[in-house]
Amino acid sequence: MKSFQTLRLCVIALMGTLSLSGCGVSSADSGFFGKTDPPATNILRYVSGDEPESLDPHISSGQPEGRIYMALYEGLTEYDPKTLAPIPAVAERWESNTELTEFTFYLRKNARWSNGDPITAQDFVYSLRRGLNPATASRTSYMAYAIVNAQGYNEGGVFAKDRTTGQFLMDGHLRKVFPGDDTARAKMPELAGKEIVPIKDEDVGVVAVDDYTVKYSLVNSAPYFVGMMPHQFFKLVPRKAIEQYGDARWTQPGNIITSGPFKLKEWIPYDRIVVERDPMYWDAANVKLDAISFYPMTENPTTMNLYKAGAIDASHNHTVPNSWIDLMETMKDYMDAPEMVNEYYQINTTKPPMNDARVRRAFSMAVDRVALAKYRHAKPLYAFVPEGVFAGYRAVHVATFDVEQSKKLLAEAGYRDAQGNFDPSKFPANEAEVTYNTSDSNRQVAEFLQAQWKQNLGVTIPIKNMEWKTFLATRAALDYKGLARSGWIGDYVDPYSYLSLFYTPRGDNGTGWWDPKYVAMLDDANRTLDPAARYEKLAKAETLLLESQAVLPLTVRSTSWMKKPYVKGMYPNPGTMHAWKFVYIERDPAKWDHGVPDMTPDKN
C-alpha cells in the first residue's frame, strides 16, 4: 500500500513538472489552458472524481456521486448554481409554522418520473421512509434525524405503552423513544410492565396532505431544513423500480427510473456515466445540454492533460494539483472560491498533555496560519465555521498567532524552568503526536505544523502517517495522541452543519470534549426566528467551542478547478455543486467567460 502511495506521488510530481513545462505554447496567447474549441455536439464532458459507489442516492455519501445525482434525481428543492441556497425544484413553494418545526411543501403538478408517471406527495413519503428503513442501511440517514421519529425508526427503536390506559410514554409532546435492544431496555425501570411497540415507517413525521402537498414535522426548530432538501438523501427515489428490481439492481441501466433533468443512458464503471436530457422532466424545455458524460477519474495530472487536450470541458474541485496553482491562477479558465470545507486538527482532550485547555490554546497560538494559507493556496481559518462562505455570519477569533502568549500559557500549565519561563525540555513532546492519513497534501500540513512548533516553541512534536481506513478507526476510537487531521464538508449551507458536530460527545466529534452548555446555546439559536439574531447566537456558541480548544482550525481551501470558457451556467460556488439544467455550451466566443463568471446572486 505504501509503495503504491509513493508511486502515486511520483506520478503526480512527475506529470506535474512535465505537463507544466509543455503548457506554455498553446495557452500563453489566449490566456486559457490548452484548446478552447467547443465540442461538436451539445454534450458536456465532465470529470466527476471517484467512481460512484452506486446510483442510489440513499446508499452513497460522497460528493462525486452527489454531482451525478443532481443530473438524475430531483428533490423538493435544488441548489442555486451560484449560492447553493435552496431554489424550487419539485416543490414550487413552501412554508413553515412560526416555531419552524413544521414545513409544508407545495408540489408542482407537472412533475414526472422518467417513465412518464406523475410525481406526487406519496413519492416523497415513500422516499423518506425507504431512506430511513434500517434494511436500506443508508449511511446518510442521519441527515433526516431532525424529523419526528426518524432516528427512532432508523435505529430500530420502540415506543412504550401503558397496558391499562393505552397511553404512550411521552417526552414533551412526542412519544418517548426507547432502544430496540432488549438487554438495554431491561435496565430501564420505567418500562416495567409496559407494552413495547416497535416504531414503524408510518410513525416518521412526514405526511402527504394531498397528492401535491407534503408536510414534515420536526423534533426541534430547524431553520436550515429547506436548505437540507437538495441533499442527496432527500432526493426522490422510484418505488416502482425499487420494488420490481430490488435495492441492489434497480439502478442498473434499463431498470432505473429517475426524476431529474437527465436520465441514465449508459454506465461503464471506471469509464463513463452518460446521462441524456429527459423529455419527461417538468422543465425539459429549459434544459440546454443534450447529454452529459461524467468521467470518473482520480489522477489529477491525467485530468489536466485531458483538459488541456480539449477532451473534457470541466472538472470537479481540487483537480488542479497544488504545485500547478501558481501558474494556473494566471489562466482565465481557472475557477476558484472559498470552499464550504474547513481544514482542522482535532485534539484528543482526554490524554495529557493535551487534556489541559491552556496547552491546546498555546499550540493553536503558535501556528502562523497566514504563512500556512499562503503555502497551501488557501485562506487562514481562526474559527471552526469556514469564513467567507455564509454571508452575514461572523465568528470570533479566539486564538490568533501570538508566540509570546503561547509560551506564557505553556509556562502556566507547568512546563517552566526555575525562573518561571517556558522550558521546552519539560514538555512531553512524544505524548502529543500529529497524526494524519497518508497523502502528499496532508504531509505538507503536518510538516508545516511540526516546523512551526519547533521554530516558535522549541518543541519537536512527532508526526505520524497512517493508511486511510486505519487512520479513521484510530481517530474515531480516540486512540490517537495529541492531534489528528480532520476536515468537514458542510451537508447544507448553514453554520449549524459544522457546529452540530459537537452537539453529541460521540460520532464525528472525535475530541472527547462535550459541554451541555454548548448544546443549550445551539438549541436556543435554532429557536430564534430572526436570521441575524440566530447567526449571532450560533457565533456565541462557536466562541465557546473555540475557547475549549478541542479543535485547531487551520485553513479554508480553494476549490481550484477548470472550466472551458464556452461552458456557461456553471459557477465556482462553495460546494462545486452544479445544477446541470442551467449549464450550456456557448458557441459564440464573444459571450465566453474570461475569468470567474459573475457571481451576483440571481433573483429567484
Partner: protein, 307 residues
C-alpha cells in the same frame, strides 16, 4: 503429458484456496471497513449496514460462504459498488486489461526478440551496442516516467493520440498505454533473447551446423532460435499472466477501466468480495500460464520430457 497436465491442474485447487484464505485473513486483520469514511458512522447505522451485508454472522459462516462462492465460481457482490457483482466487474474489466496486456507483450516480444537476435548474431557490433543501450534505458525508465513523457510529446504537443481514457479496441487511445507498458518487457526480452542466443550459438551443434556449411540465416532460424528463446518462454508465462490481469500504474496514468484500477481501489475500500474475486482470478491466471509455459517447454526443447 496428459497425466502431468491433469496432476498440475489438480494441484492448483488447493493453491488457490490457500491464497484466497490468506487474503481473507489479511483483509480481516486490516483496520476499517468498506463503509467507514471521513464521517463517523453512527452505531445504529453501522448495525443496519452489518446486518444488511451479513457482516454480523460468525466468522466461520462468512468464511464458509466465501469458499462456497468460489467453488461455485460466483464471487458474490461488491460491497462498495452496490448492485455490481464481482463476476460482472471482472468480465467488464478483464477484456480491457487483457487487450492492453497482450498487445503490449506482443509488441515487446516482436521488437525485443528481434533486437535480441540481431544483437546476438552480430555480437559486439554497433547494432549490438545500440540495441543493448536502448534496452538498458527501457529497463531503467519506469513506466510512470515514460507514460507522461509520451503523453507530453504525442498528446499535448503533437495532438496525435488522446492523453488518456479508453475508446475500445481498436482505437488510437490504445497506442500510448501499450507502448508505455511494453517498453520494460521489450528491454528484458531483448536482453534475455541475446544471452540465450549467445549461449546456443556457442554450443557444439551450432558449430557442427557451421562446419557442414549451412548459411548463417539457416543456422539462426532453423537451429539456434528454438533453444535460444527458451529463457524468453519461461519469462513469458508469469509476466503475461500479470500483464493481462491488470497493470495498476498504466491504468491509472491513462485512466483505463481495467482490472488493476479496481484491484487497488478494492483494497483501499476494504471491498472484500472484490479483492477475493480478483485475487482468485489472478492466481488462476498465473497458475494456468505457468502450466502453459511448462507444456511449451516440452515442445520447444526435445530434452524435456514430463511423466
Amino acid at each position: 503429458m496428459a497425466r502431468f497436465v491433469i496432476r498440475r491442474l489438480l494441484t492448483t485447487i488447493p493453491m488457490i484456496l490457500i491464497v484466497v484464505s490468506a487474503t481473507w485473513v489479511l483483509i480481516r486483520m486490516a483496520p476499517g471497513n468498506f463503509y467507514t469514511g471521513e464521517r463517523v458512522v453512527n452505531p445504529a447505522i453501522e448495525r443496519n449496514i452489518r446486518e444488511k451485508y451479513g457482516l454480523n454472522r460468525p466468522w466461520y459462516v462468512q468464511y464458509g460462504k466465501m469458499i462456497g462462492n468460489i467453488v461455485k465460481g460466483d464471487f458474490g457482490s461488491s460491497l462498495r459498488y452496490e448492485g455490481q457483482s464481482v463476476n460482472e466487474i471482472i468480465s467488464k474489466t478483464f477484456p480491457v486489461s487483457a487487450t492492453i496486456g497482450i498487445l503490449a507483450y506482443a509488441l515487446a516480444l516482436l521488437l525485443g526478440g528481434f533486437a535480441g537476435i540481431i544483437a546476438a548474431s552480430r555480437q559486439n557490433s554497433r547494432a549490438d551496442y545500440s540495441s543493448m543501450t536502448l534496452a538498458m534505458f527501457g529497463i531503467s525508465i519506469p513506466n510512470f516516467v515514460l507514460g507522461p513523457i509520451l503523453v507530453l510529446f504525442f498528446s499535448l504537443s503533437l495532438y496525435w493520440f488522446p492523453p488518456a481514457r479508453w475508446d475500445g479496441f481498436p482505437s488510437r487511445s490504445m497506442v500510448l498505454p501499450v507502448i508505455t507498458l511494453s517498453a520494460i518487457y521489450m528491454a528484458y526480452i531483448a536482453r534475455l533473447a541475446r544471452s540465450g542466443m549467445l549461449e546456443v550459438l556457442r554450443s557444439d551443434y551450432i558449430r557442427t551446423a557451421k562446419a557442414k556449411g549451412l548459411s548463417e540465416r539457416a543456422i539462426l532460424i532453423r537451429h539456434a532460435l528454438r533453444g535460444g528463446l527458451l529463457p524468453v518462454v519461461s519469462f513469458t508465462g508469469p509476466v503475461l499472466a500479470l500483464l493481462i490481469t491488470g497493470t495498476v500504474v498504466v491504468e491509472r496514468i491513462f485512466a483505463l477501466p481495467g482490472m488493476g484500477n479496481y484491484f487497488i481501489n478494492a483494497n483501499l475500500n476494504r471491498d472484500e468480495p472484490l479483492i477475493i474475486g480478483i485475487v482468485a482470478f489472478s492466481s488462476m491466471a498465473i497458475l494456468l500460464f505457468n502450466l502453459l509455459v511448462d507444456v511449451a517447454y516440452a515442445f520447444i526443447d526435445p530434452r524435456i520430457r514430463y511423466s
